[in-house]
Amino acid sequence: MKVNLKYFASIREAIGQGSESVNTQAATLQALRDELMARGGAYAEVLAHGRAVRMALDQDLCEGSAALSDGCEVAFFPPVTGG
């Protein structure tokens, strides 16, 4: 299925782009994160387990167990610091 990815703040800077579209068999957010980490380089570094990475599915904060669907929007970003 097709997933639209978005990256923000320090994660966007490290990866070098703010968005991309991927075809994936990953069923969950965590599986997709693992798939991206397997690319190595900046992806492996900034998405590594143990790093504070927040994930959103269709613009709602979600845990790694959240199920993906075709055409969904997934975002990876560091802890938020607004206000």
């Binding site: 978005k6 923000f8 703040a9 320090s10 143990g50 790093r51 504070a52 927040r54 959103a56 613009q59 709602d60 904060l61 975002a75 970003f77 560091p78 802890p79 938020v80 610091t81 607004g82 206000g83």
Partner: protein
């Protein structure tokens, strides 16, 4: 009754916004607001400027959700959140939250609740320019704890 959010680069006039929020609603007997501004120092360094980034779409969605939650919890008539993005300097206005109610207790509580919620749930990120270079601001555990007081588990800072 209006519950609105604006994400904008331009500055705003607090007096005008306050007047508009309560205009035409004679039930209102209390208006409470919070204004956040850019400090000249953060985490031991002087701050020359900061750049605020956000996630268009999710920002508005998350703030609307927090207003819905505030409506359920408090007896309030209207609320407005304005958050600026882009380049800001010390003394600039960043964020404004205002709430109206019949008596002060409900608007005081709702205003604090909305700010506590925004700090850990709305997708904004600050990057500061200091003499040591540009750096992303770290999230504070104390902000997660502030939201926990309202019975909401925040895990913004968890690894």
């Amino acid at each position: 009754m209006s519950f609105t959010v604006s994400i904008q680069t331009q500055d705003f006039d607090v007096s005008q916004e306050l007047a508009a929020l309560r205009a035409g609603d004679a039930r209102v007997g209390a208006v409470c607001s919070f204004l956040g501004t850019v400090r000249e120092r953060n985490d031991g360094s002087s701050v020359a400027s900061m750049e605020l980034e956000h996630y268009p779409g999710m920002t508005e969605k998350s703030i609307s959700a927090m207003m819905d939650e505030a409506k359920k919890r408090f007896d309030i008539f209207a609320a407005r959140v304005i958050h600026r993005v882009g380049l800001l300097h010390p003394e600039d206005q960043i964020v404004w939250v205002a709430v109206t109610s019949a008596h002060r207790g409900e608007s005081f509580k709702a205003c604090e609740f909305l700010m506590d919620y925004l700090k850990t749930q709305a997708p904004f990120w600050k990057k500061e320019v200091t003499p040591e270079g540009a750096r992303w601001v770290d999230a504070r555990v104390s902000d997660d704890q502030a939201l926990a007081r309202w019975g909401i588990q925040a895990s913004n800072t968890l690894s």
